[in-house]
Amino acid sequence: MGEPVEIIQTPIRLEYQYTPGVSRSRYLKGLIEGKILGERCERCHKVYVGGGSGACARDGIPMSDVVELPHVGTVTSFCIVNVPFAGATVEIPYTMAAILLDGADIPLNGLIQEIPADQVRMGLRVEAVWIPAGERTFTETIKHWRPSGEDDAPIDDVLKWMRADA
């Protein structure tokens, strides 16, 4: 007789075939090429970026007007991560921010580096730091965002953008 059994392993594993769809596929392929591609709604003229559904959330119509966006934007909101977790690759504390690219109407989420976490602020101007071409994968393209060195965007512009009727 061995030791009585007290604990058993009951692993659960689910294998999915994930398909990002037309819009997000185009966005991801753009990132591999070093381009940030958005889409403009022909009715409301809002520019979406980040690879959503490919339909305008306001008008519910497909967007086929592809727009290439600059690699600079403004921090509209952010969150400082202080809690370590399994699989984390970035040293804490670090900042995840909503970054409104110039010309876009919806922010991207991005990791902010090259500035202490407690100095990140609404209105901070940031630019993308890319993984070198040829080394990018569909999950690793923009390494992080860093301060661009420009003056902060006026806080009123940020707040105005954040209003529901903007």
């Binding site: 059994v5 058993i8 009951t10 594993r13 075939q17 769809g21 596929s25």
Partner: protein, 148 residues
């Protein structure tokens, strides 16, 4: 619309390495499997429950009288699995069956390696095929197979 070949697709695996404590009764049942023994537990109405449970299903009374059962048994119901998945105990077509071990009053779920669906019958006699390396787990029984 975009050409379908423009759309990306990728494998996404979601995996949780759960562990669970089994308690004294299931723990003893699993420890028995490691020794190629089946043990049920006697309920307050006299029935022998397999797999054993800690508390009586009717009275909620704590149960403690272990009863040796099996190793052979009878298929009480079954379903044929023509296309096994990677996590199934057998990698060829087999039956999931409820098996009432000799001396038991309730049935245990396990795989039956019958070779062919036509071999499967409710009421058929089966016996366990044990794994050579046993760890105290329900899969110490590789599967059940028709009695010769």
């Amino acid at each position: 619309m975009a050409n379908p070949s423009d759309v990306l697709t990728a494998l996404h695996v979601l995996e949780y390495p759960y562990k669970r404590s089994v308690g004294p009764v299931i723990g003893r049942f699993l420890s028995g499997l490691r020794e190629q023994r089946f043990e049920g537990i006697r309920a307050s109405d006299g029935r022998v429950l397999v797999p054993p449970v800690e508390y009586d299903p009717q009275t909620a009374q704590e149960l403690s009288e272990f009863v040796p059962v099996g190793p052979g048994g009878v298929v009480t119901t079954w379903t044929w699995l023509a296309e096994p998945r990677s996590n199934n105990p057998l990698q060829k077509p087999f039956a999931w069956a409820l098996i009432k071990l000799d001396g038991a009053d309730t049935a245990l779920l396990h795989a039956v390696d019958a070779g062919d669906e036509a071999t499967m019958k409710t009421g058929m006699r089966v016996r366990p095929r044990w794994k050579a390396e046993r760890a105290g787990h329900i899969l110490d029984i590789e599967c059940f197979e028709p009695e010769a």
